[in-house]
Amino acid sequence: MNVNDIQIVLTASLVTLACVIPGCFLVLRRMTMFGDAISHAVLPGIVAAFLFSGSLNGIAMIIGASLTGLLVTLLIELIQKKMRISPDASIGITYTFLFAIGVIMVSLLSNQTDLDQECVLYGDITLVPLDLGMWGIPRQIWIASILDIVLIITLLVGYRGLWVSTFDPSFAAATGIATVFWHYLLMGMVSLSTVTAFESVGAIMVIALLTGPAATAALFARSLPRMLVIASISGIISCILGYILATILDASIAGAIAVMNGLLFFISLLIRKFIRN
């Protein structure tokens, strides 16, 4: 194991952590498909921000993605309520449309940039060690760490609101807690995670990181803090195992991590069954 390996696994783990935080809430609120939708649909926002600022990182990107994330949430609700369409169909039509627009924008730009369709899908985490930032530490690690800190602070500050609006929305509404605000805050957090994950694991693998660790943790945890901790640990284990698997097969790291998250869930199912018997 050399420095490169450590840097890649560290990046993957930081990205996982960023996804686990909103992921747990999505699983508890039965809204994981919103995560799927947002992670696809931020693509046009990311491309637009790229056009605007000329780089694949930085503030413009974060703003672009967060705004599109909120826009998606709004659109889905609008279609659902105004057009009287079931939530699954309104999610489906919204995100496929925005993703299609994103892919078209990418293909229009593909001559001028290194942003191509494949990198949109599964990112390229192997490039992480090549792009160094401050103090010789890869830029991606910086970005992911900062976003992790932002997300953790949001979690700590907003814990009560997120907790109540997740477990008892009607109580929350009755006691004057703005459930709508927490809903949009959560969606904003998902968009942030997507941006963090975009470059390294690609927009589509985000769904694996949002759902996998949280679903595994939900099998065991009896309280929200424990769920967050178990999910983080299982997500990081998947990163390590996934990286090893990908190295052995000489294949996509993002894909391998997604597979490991799934496998870990199935193994946990078996373990739980074994314990119960």
């Binding site: 057009m83 079931s86 892919v103 593909s110 759902t211 939900a218």
Partner: protein, 432 residues
């Protein structure tokens, strides 16, 4: 683009273009047909997960066979697609996870596996693998004759199956319990619908790719739903919409070959859906706004006429002249609203304006009596049959008077026995 190019495409002059267009039309039509049921059963996102899940099957089939035979790849795709569908069912049925988590979990696991295998195959350096990646984003331009034959066969098979099993599919989409009670083979129907869905998805991803396949299932069905209430018509309209999207989408990518076909098909389909959402008669947004504003106007006019009658009743002069202020004193109308209503009623010849006052015309009197009559009949009905207190019946009657049809009126007369007074002991005007 020159007009020659455009006409050339329309007439399908080049054999290659003909093949691509034929393939895309078949795929989009099929997907739209099957998608109607996914949409009606509220399983749109399951379709999304399945389309991601066929990727590892395609890769495994390639690894095992070493060639890109469309039929072998299709079998592989069917295998993992169905497996994923079954796992989703098992997980949510046994309450191991919530349904939405099961969908996302299987989607990401199988798609991750697909990407893993695909990159593994690509890094092996096997020359035969070139083109496997078209399954991710779709590449309609690469449709071969062998593909086309497979599409044609699938298209016929799927359309025939839908036609034969339509009644059963219809029932499990709307009322599974009823279907079970009447002895329909639910399990068989569900399984065949799943197989058809996975099959459609497995070949459809060649045109639009894994990620956007869900749109081919959902979007035409959603658009079609706005135009009709009949499932037969919905299937036809959806297939038609799907095909239009497929045709226009491939046209765009014909003009700009660097453009991926799939996203354009999806954009076209969404465009059709948006137009349908706004313009469709009946369920469309504009039609609903129109109905709502018409209803609001009808209610306003009827309320004004009713007020004329009530004031006239008190003064003993049913067709007396009444000032605008008098009306406002009796009922909280908006000022502009009232003025608009009065103008409208005058133009309909139900009111007569006379300087600052208005009076009911003979025709207006009849209409006013009709509404007051309905109101009082309903009050009486509520009191007699629902045993409501007389002071509780007014609000409900305020709403009902605008919607009671002549048939219901006749029914009310019948069960109330042509009454003369309402619960407040005011006289119910006789029928005109």
């Amino acid at each position: 683009m020159t007009s020659d190019q455009f006409i050339g495409f329309l007439l399908l002059e080049e054999p290659n273009v003909r093949m691509v267009v034929a393939g895309t039309l078949l795929l989009c039509g099929m997907a739209a047909l099957v998608g109607c049921f996914t949409f009606l059963r509220k399983r749109s996102l399951v379709g999304d997960a399945v389309s991601h899940s066929v990727l590892p099957g395609i890769c495994m089939a390639f690894l095992l066979s070493g060639e890109k035979n469309p039929i072998i790849l299709l079998l592989g795709a069917l295998a993992t697609g169905l497996l994923s569908l079954i796992l989703m069912e098992v997980l949510s049925r046994n309450r191991l996870t919530r349904p939405d988590t099961a969908i996302s979990l299987m989607l990401s696991f199988f798609f991750g596996l697909g990407i893993l295998l695909l990159t593994y195959i690509q890094h092996q350096g096997n020359a035969a693998q070139a083109g496997l990646d078209k399954f991710i984003f779709g590449k309609a331009a690469s449709i071969t004759e062998a593909d086309l034959r497979l599409f044609l066969f699938s298209g016929i098979f799927i359309t025939a199956s839908v036609a034969i099993l339509l009644r059963g599919f219809y029932l499990i989409s709307f009322d599974e319990d009823f279907a079970r009670a009447t002895g329909f083979p639910i399990k068989f129907l569900r399984l065949s619908l799943s197989v058809l869905t996975v099959w459609t998805v497995a070949i459809g991803i060649q045109a639009v790719g894994v990620v956007l396949m869900a749109a081919l299932l959902i979007t035409p069905a959603l658009a079609a739903r706005f135009w009709t209430h009949s499932i037969g018509r919905m299937l036809v309209i959806a297939a038609l919409f799907g095909m239009i999207a497929g045709y226009t989408g491939s046209f765009v990518s014909y003009l700009a070959p660097a453009m991926p076909t799939g996203p354009w098909i999806v954009v076209m389909a969404t465009f059709i859906a948006i137009v349908s959402m706004f313009l469709a008669p009946g369920r469309g947004l504009l039609a609903r706004w129109n109905t709502r504003s018409k209803n609001r106007e009808k209610t306003l006019l009827e309320n004004i006429l009713k007020l004329f009658y009530q004031i006239g009743e008190k003064s003993g002069q049913l067709q007396g002249n009444i000032l605008e202020e008098d009306l406002l004193n009796h009922r909280a109308f908006g000022h502009d609203e009232l003025r608009k209503g009065l103008k409208r009623l005058t133009s309909k010849n139900l009111l007569e304006s006379n300087l600052l006052t208005y009076r009911l015309t003979n025709q207006g009197l009849l209409e006013a009596q009709r509404i007051v009559r309905l109101h009082r009949l309903w009050e009486l009905y509520l009191q007699r049959y629902l045993h409501l207190e007389p002071d509780h019946v007014h609000d409900d009657a305020e709403a009902m008077e605008h919607v009671i049809t002549p048939e219901i009126e006749a029914q009310l007369e019948l069960i109330l026995g042509n009454p003369e007074t309402d619960p407040h002991n005011t006289i119910i005007p006789p029928k005109a």
